[in-house]
């Protein structure tokens, strides 16, 4: 497992998505972690130190695993770029089926002019 900096991680995640378009899946896991072993944590606890937790992000395509971690200060920037990547690559999901919606609307005596209020 390679622990990367957030930016290389995002780049690698991008290519993982690109590699898995024909076949395969991508997994991304978020976990709250101190990145320390239990022994270390217990030592710190007894020493009265506060344990710093970060958000550990792991990604795999089944062949390669990469990981990174973000703290309280930098998670917002990371989650924004992460969201952008997801948006750019999750293109196989179905768009809302407009036809059915229209039909249902017409059945309700409401002509097709009705726009969905929530976006």
């Amino acid at each position: 497992m390679v622990l990367l900096q957030p930016d290389p991680f995002l780049n690698e995640l991008k290519s993982m998505f690109e590699r898995s378009t024909e076949t395969g899946s991508v997994w991304v896991t978020l976990k709250r972690s101190s990145l320390k072993s239990k022994v270390q944590r217990n030592k710190m606890k007894t020493a009265g130190q506060t344990i710093e937790y970060r958000c550990l992000i792991r990604a795999t395509d089944g062949k390669k695993t990469i990981s990174t971690s973000v703290g309280a200060k930098d998670h917002q920037r990371f989650q924004a770029s992460y969201a952008t990547i997801l948006k750019a690559h999750m293109t196989a999901l179905k768009k809302r089926e407009r036809k059915d919606r229209k039909k249902a609307a017409e059945d309700k005596k409401d002509s097709g002019s009705k726009k969905p209020k929530r976006v």
């Binding site: 898995s20 991508v26 896991t29 937790y53 973000v70 998670h75 989650q79 293109t91 999901l93 809302r96």
Partner: protein, 103 residues
């Protein structure tokens, strides 16, 4: 574990699960491009909550859940959730006005 069908229920229960045991709860997303499927899973190794979808609409909602979990995990489970949702409200408010609520 059975898939939860209601998105709102999924969000509520996963956040609860995380709050109950922040150190062993993980949030996992699986995306399969060739089948166009997205599966979300949150588990603390005792209980497992899953949500499955093939709709782009749900992926947008997932973005919000991602933000919730990033914040909860990076800042700690005690973080004020209204801080996250508060920002959205600020963004949503002017939009609401624009949508024809004539003061």
């Amino acid at each position: 574990m059975v898939y939860i069908t209601s998105w709102d229920e999924f969000v509520e229960r996963t956040v609860q699960l995380f709050r109950a045991d922040p150190e062993s709860t993980r949030y996992c997303m699986k995306y399969r491009h060739c089948d166009g499927k997205l599966v979300l899973k949150v588990t603390d190794n005792k209980e497992c909550l899953k949500f499955k979808t093939d709709q782009a609409q749900e992926a947008k909602k997932m973005e919000k859940l991602n933000n919730i979990f990033f914040t909860l995990m990076a800042r700690g489970p005690d973080v004020d959730m209204s801080e996250i949702t508060g920002k959205e409200q600020i963004e949503a408010q002017p939009a609401k006005k624009g949508r024809g609520r004539k003061q």
